[in-house]
């Protein structure tokens, strides 16, 4: 994939990720407060936004839960990684399953009250899945571009 496409992908993930922290940016430009309800609605489509599962820094909450924030950070970090070094390893479904297993286990264990929900565990299990899942998306986009060029 061309570096310009990878860069575009990185910036798209960056914009999406920064949107989660809109409440921080309102401190910089107060006009952004008008975007807050709209963005809350946007992120509500892809996250349950349960109050007790949102990340909280200095009294300000994220717009997505710890797990989703982890997934999006993982996607962002991996999209940055491909800008530096193109991965050449083989993708196998097992890799995605291994990356998804901790998250699935955490969702199950926390839902069944086997242990108490932890934002930290949710964040890191999401991060693992997001960072791995990106390479499947990247490979998909890469194949799509190759197909379109034919």
């Amino acid at each position: 994939m061309k570096r310009s496409y990878s860069l575009t992908l990185f910036f798209l993930f960056l914009i999406w990720f920064l949107g989660i922290f809109i409440e921080w940016f309102i401190k910089i430009d107060e006009q952004l407060v008008f975007a807050l309800p709209f963005l809350q609605k946007t992120y509500s489509l892809v996250c349950h936004q349960e109050k007790n599962k949102l990340l909280l820094f200095g009294g300000i909450e994220t717009l997505t839960c710890a797990r989703c924030t982890g997934i999006y950070l993982g996607l962002l970090l991996s999209s940055f990684f491909v800008l530096i070094k193109l991965p050449r390893w083989k993708l196998h479904i097992k890799l995605l399953l291994i990356a998804a297993a901790p998250m699935i286990a955490d969702v199950l264990f926390a839902s069944l009250n086997i242990y108490v929900y932890s934002k930290l565990i949710a964040f890191f299990t999401g991060l693992l899945l997001g960072s791995t899942g990106f390479f499947y998306l990247y490979a998909g986009l890469n194949n799509l571009i190759l197909e379109l060029k034919k």
Binding site: M1, E23, I26, K27, E30, Q31, V33, F34, L36, P37, F38, Q40, K41, T42, S44, L45, V46, C47, H48, E50, G59, E61, T64, C65, R67, C68, I71, Y72, V82, L86, P87, R88, W89, K90, L91, H92, I93, L96, G133, F135, Y136, L137, Y138, A139, G140, L141, N142, N143, L144, L146, E147, L148
Partner: protein, 171 residues
Amino acid sequence: MKKYLAAIICGFGAGVLQIVPFVKSFSCCMILPLAAFISLLLDQRATRIFEKIPMKKALIFGLFTGLFAALFGSVFEILITFITKHNDVIASFTDLQRIVQNLPLSEEIKKEILNLFQSVREDILKNGFSLLYTFSVIFNNFIVNSIFGSVGGLIGAQIINSRLNNQSVGK
């Protein structure tokens, strides 16, 4: 239309999961990509073609799943709001007030944003309909769902194809 039946079914499912009260608490960022993935699997079963899925087809299936999820989701959300005269905006209004009051904003801006939301809230409580809210629902649903659906289609096809043969990235 029959060609995209799997996308319609999965889009309907995802749309419902995103909207229906109580059910939507299970909604997360995985719903739409999963719906797109399932639509590809369903299509394979329906057509009985178990070959490698072209990425163009995967993208179109994902996009259609997202668009149908947006269509059903928007219709259900607008209808539920119209019938019950209650929705997220009303439920989260006190939260929004708290957030706005806690933010370091000028009193003028605080008043302006709360007045705007108060008018949307009143419209919904009175008529079950607000133009601004309806526009926000339709715009959000169609943009976000089509993007997440397309992503799900591409990742889903990679997963399905990787079962046929391992692939390398970064060619």
